[in-house]
Symmetry: C2
Subunit: 161 residues, 2 copies
């Protein structure tokens, strides 16, 4: 097993892993991005994310996709957006190795915090993360405004307030 | 009331607003940043966040601090890290105006999603956000590894896997 930083030629692989994770998260139709968007957003002059790929027996067995965020309590931090290992490659420590590598990158970059989101029914993942030193923020919830609702909210903003 | 983009000279004001928000969130000692870190992180050559300040009757009445994030389902998005209005300036639509302005900035930058975190006991905030078109992701929880636990996790990463 070998972990490496993804390059532009990995875009089709990354997209197929993103789709596989969406299926696992019971949202098979949620992915609205294609290869051209991933290429533009991840491999242009100002990348919006970085991605690690774990190769295992000649296949892309899993991936970790992350980007910098900021905490007004702690300073520069890293958000792990996706961490996924193909079912046929599980039980070999690949997820653990990917998470550890993202933690090492966080430390290298002076980030004192690494965080990510988890589905509350995904007990195996939660137990795994806790065994690696993570804590769940029990009282926090994520809120989101998207698409047409976001456009409506934006339009309410009076120019030049 | 007037909303404007913060500049470097606002750093002391931003820090005092961050402290006021931490008190409201019942974590008065959580802020580990000082003015020099905020200056470095927000107002250097590669800023990690942007900040809006709402001036009201000659005072900094509130702020919104945000930065770009990435969704592997939706693409470029904005995370609103902090939104806060000083208690003495509430009830005048300042929080609403700040949220709308961040939504407008999201749309201008081609982001199809704006999101933020909320404490589950903060019912007035949750009701306000819902009234503006936001939805709560009921099943998602935030996990985090910080400080010494993050350093331990990083050290487990074998070089050159």
């Amino acid at each position: 097993m070998h972990i490496r930083l993804a390059t532009e030629s990995d875009v089709p692989t990354i997209l197929s892993l993103i789709h596989a994770l969406a299926v696992y998260e019971r949202e098979p139709d949620a992915v609205q991005l294609g290869e051209s968007e991933l290429r533009r957003d991840g491999f242009g002059p100002q990348p919006l994310f970085e991605c690690l790929i774990a190769d295992d027996e000649g296949e892309a067995a899993g991936f970790a996709l992350y980007f910098p965020i900021y905490s007004t309590w702690r300073g520069p931090s890293i958000h792990l957006e996706d961490l996924f290992v193909q079912p046929s490659h599980r039980g070999r420590g690949i997820g653990k190795a990917l998470l550890e590598r993202v933690a090492a990158i966080s430390i290298e970059r002076g980030c004192g915090r690494l965080q990510w989101d988890v589905l509350d029914w995904n007990t195996p993942a939660i137990d795994f993360y806790r065994s690696r030193g993570a804590v769940m923020l029990e009282s926090w919830r994520i809120m989101r405004v998207t698409g047409a609702a976001l456009a409506r909210l934006a339009k309410s903003s009076p120019p030049g307030t």
